[in-house]
Amino acid sequence: MVEFRWSERGRRTACNPSSPLLPTGSLVSFFAAALALALALMLAAPAAFAQPPPAPLAASDAIVPPRLVSEPAVPYPVGASGEASVVLNVTVNADGTVRAATAAETNEPFSSAAARAAMGWRYDPATRGGRAVAARIRVEILFSPAPAPGTAPATGSPSAPAAAPERAPAPARTEEVLVRGAHEEPSRTATLTRAEVRQIPGAFGDPFRAIEIMPGVTPIISGLPFFYIRGAPPGDVGYYLDGIRVPYLFHVGVGPSVVHPAIVDRVDLYPGGYPARFGRFSGGIVSGETVAPADTIHGEYNVRLVDAGAYVETPFDGGRGTVLLGGRYSYTGLLFSLLSPSTSLSYWDYQGRATYDLTPRDRVGVFAFGAYDFLGQKLPDGTTQTLFGTQFHRVDVRYDHSLGEAGTIRTAVTLGEDLTDAGDGQSVRDRLVGVRTEITERLSPVALLRAGFDAQSDSYDVLLNSGTLGPTEASYASYFPTRTDLAAGMRGDVVLTVMRGLEVTPGARLDYFGSQGATALAIDPRLSARAEITDRWRLLWAMGLAHQAPAFAIPVPGFQPGGLRGGLQMSAQESMGVGWDLGAATTATATVFHNGFFNMSDALGVNQSQPSGCLPGSFPTDTLAGDPGGAAGSHTCGQRFAPGTLGPDRSGGGGQGAESAGTQSTIQALEARTNGNAYGFELFIKRKLTEHLGGFLSYTLSRSTRDYQGQQFVAAFDRTHVLNAAAAYDLGRNWRAGARITFYTGLPKAPDPTDASTRLAPFFRLDLRLEKRWPLKGKAWISFVAEWMNATLSKEQIGTSCTLQGCQATTVGPITIPSIGVEGGF
């Protein structure tokens, strides 16, 4: 999690600017020396920054604390007596709701009563530079008993005197405000909170499913959760949850995300030039953060046509500890048994988290989660043949130590298992053990250090029916041997407030890769900057190098090529943008970017678009009987096998190790390494979707190219324009409706003498959402939600198929998901 932490006590800091700045001459132009600088700053910063007073605050940094707007009454606890004072630490979300309320010191039953009541308060959120931000405030509540029998129970109040007839508790006061600054990192193009994601049609309330609307993200096929991010292939995109690497985020096909959406606080997309804490991926980074532990019991549930899920969290031991349990189970098998009796499909996931505060500054916790997906075919003998089955599990044991307002230290050990069952007795299992330690420490008012170390061992057990694979297939299968890989990295960066309104973050990573005796070292310098131009305008700049071990085409648990064959992948990423606040809860960013790829694994993008079958006017000379061509996906107009070699025996159509030219071409692509470039422009305008009328517009104009075997061409999944736009509107009476459109340019088209166009047809789809919410007692609520992804039933063109009679587009779909369900919470 990357956040700029901002501290203010009684707003004194905001009103007391001082001037002295760091000497900045040496901080401007040394990207190449960023590593040395970062290390020097880490070592020297405490001394160098100890004396200067705090950096002045830009006008745009002015902080306004949260203001209580709801009924503040706190019931006097039944059975209690006497006066009492309770100080609460209240965390107020950017939308004004209370995320957590914890008594600073236990004084039962008053502290529990106060915390319970505070969870229902509503605030005008804190603002920083006019923008709503989350904040933590300290609130003192004074309890006094009722003066005499028969009078109304006494109350406590955080902001207003209690009613006159009672012995009113003294009005409480806000003692301290800690605003968790929401400085966007220069490399982070979009952040979406769960509350906003809930309103995005077609996302089904899943924060991770909302990735596809973010700028820079190019889908392979509409609805499928595999993306190119600024030209980087799906296999080069890293997925994190609470800093823990996970192999994938979505259940099979177009399924939901692998964690219950309600425990995901927010999702950040870093398409390039990301902070030093992200490493060993050379494409984009998708990072999810779970909600902070809450000290009141709460939960959510949902029941839909295809699955049901729930989670609940409760405190124990007076709030020192919390336990969260959640999960989801799909009963899609019931639907499939009706629609396709021979197919079996199922998925489930689980999450469990426990935390315990050993001291006010020390917390231990464990976070366990996992997911299972299965696609199979039922056989006549009653058994089910596995076509595709995956699962992964993670257990993360953490120790968090707070340095007060100076920062935090986290030390964690992660155990995990990834398993993919490819059917027919073939499987890949990865048992992993990882350790990591992270420190975030404010070295001075102008320097925030973020550093860490991590190491991970992956033990792969691979069972492949190599005896049934053809020579080319067997050659590629040898890339996945049983072995143990080791990777380790150390990193650090320093967020420097160089001068008023200018923030520079130099940093670097050093990573070690080891597999099957092959080793590699990578040094990845990173540098980003954020400059306030006016109260509303800021410049954002990010660049860096990123290395990665060879990757499989798409993220599949355990499918990691071994031996570092072909060497590390590398990308050089740079972007520059401008962000501005348009007012009325509306923000915008516009970014230009360039990514250079070197030695990249991109099996999907490396093949130039080719038609299946033979183009009109050509005749398949490679068959004895003038066969006009094979099935879609095969290339039958070339020689079927290399001259001078023996061809395959494809009697019966294939199998038994027989390799087609298409198979060999695919495997060649999997082994290929390419160079390439991606450049473009991104625009993201968002008005909070939780507003009366909210919405966003996300647009990407880009071009992605590949250099391969001496040729330069447009990447196979390049799309010139990608547009997502949505609006959500409060219809009143707790009805809320939304619509979203998705548009993108078609894929590059194979040469076709009958059609001069260079692209397949563009794609357009419309998603709809309608929700009715009923508030129930207390904080409880229930909603009816109807949602439909691809209500236009649009099909998508993915290729060209030719016969002697002519060529036509190959289409898939419509990939459409209608959903009706009930959601609720308390």
């Binding site: 021979s342 075919q377 056989l379 006549p380 003998d381 043949q385 027919d424 029916n465 005896g467 049934t468 694979l469 053809g470 020579p471 080319t472 067997a474 000379t621 490679d622 068959t623 004895l624 009987a625 066969d627 094979g630 020689q639 079927r640 096998f641 290399a642 001259p643 001078g644 070699t645 023996l646 061809g647 395959p648 025996d649 494809r650 009697s651 019966g652 159509g653 294939g654 199998g655 038994q656 190790g657 027989a658 390799e659």
Partner: protein, 176 residues
């Protein structure tokens, strides 16, 4: 799907076997042909034309040794073979949603393969497979039916995807 292959109909009534002896012979032939095909593909496919001599382990145990000569015409997509396969306790199984394509057998014996293998599964493949002593043991069909033929003579002709001839003196055939 179930009824669409060589074995024909299937059992609804308990008195009618799901796969009669002719059917089990057909599945056994398929197993033999697929095993030979597999051995060829994993050893010789992609190799230079000329004399051949390769040995490979079978998927579930045992070995297969193939030797002889083979030439090809890449323009026409054909490979001409004169090969001998020596199978020694060669264990091979296949799971398939089509019950008549499911088997789990162990093969022992020597069999020759002569003719043209074409890339397309059309009428262009023309082969003769012959063995004086082939042992086939295991289970065929799904659910599995025990099957065992010892030191059996085999004479088969493949025309495209159709395989027919005699197995242990009995007429037998299967569509690949």
């Amino acid at each position: 799907m179930v009824a669409a292959v060589a074995c024909g109909g299937s059992g609804g009534a308990s008195s009618t076997p799901a796969c009669d002896p002719q059917c089990t012979d057909g599945v056994a032939l398929l197993a033999l042909r697929d095993a030979i095909k597999l051995v060829y593909n994993v050893t010789l496919q992609g190799q230079p034309v000329g004399a051949q001599d390769k040995t490979t382990p079978c998927p579930q145990g045992g070995t297969a040794h193939v030797h002889g000569t083979a030439t090809s015409n890449a323009d026409q997509g054909t490979t001409t073979v004169m090969l001998t396969y020596n199978l020694s306790q060669c264990h091979y199984s296949q799971v398939d949603s089509d019950p008549s394509h499911a088997f789990d057998v162990t093969l022992t014996g020597s069999i020759t393969e002569q003719g043209i293998i074409a890339v397309q599964p059309s009428s262009t493949t023309s082969l003769v497979l012959q063995s004086s002593s082939m042992t086939i043991a295991g289970q065929v069909y799904s659910p599995g039916i025990d099957y065992k033929e010892t030191a059996c003579a085999v004479l088969l002709a493949q025309d495209g995807s159709n395989l027919s001839g005699t197995l242990c003196g009995r007429p037998a055939g299967v569509t690949l």
